[in-house]
Amino acid sequence: MADKTVAAALNPQKNVPLMQWVVPVLVGWLIPGGGHLYLGRKQRGLLLGGSIGICFLFGLMMRGAFFEPQTGDLLTTLIYTGGNFANKMVGLPYFLATWLGYNQADVAGHVHDYGTKFLAGAGLLNVLALVDAYEIAAGKKD
């Protein structure tokens, strides 16, 4: 009995029930840091939400462009479709910005270019936060 408990603690469940992690991951996707807040990790949730939110906000203020999915050669597909995926991974802020009419064209200039990277970067940072929220919800880490 004790051996089973120790083994369970050392080897967390491989198949984590869907309902155990889907809500925190969904909340974390829609509101950056929200998954951690939902799981009671307030400090970490606020740090993640703040960092990702600032990254996204600076991207908007630098007038970065959102990626539109494009196909063609491999590099074009990877950059534009991947960029569009990264933009969407920031969740509600992305949908709110597009709904409110933010539609910056992709123009030349280092500020715009950095803005575009900040917008995509915010989404990628949120992916890291989502993986962390999943691991906490699954009991793989504290």
């Binding site: 740090l47 993640l48 960092s51 600076f58 908007l60 630098m62 500020v111 950095y114 990277k117 970067g121």
Partner: protein, 61 residues
Amino acid sequence: MPKIALSHLETAILLALLISVVLGVVTRKTDKERLQYGMLCFARFVGTIFGLAWLMKLGHG
């Protein structure tokens, strides 16, 4: 929405700071380790920024 125009250095350092915070939070187990790793990441980012900047300056002559 106000518009801002940061320099290359300001933008790179801001991005380094934000990424370091997230990496620190998600990759370590205790608060002390998170702080240490976040600071280490930030120092490495800033070191790389200055290193590459000097490399480009020297490379261009």
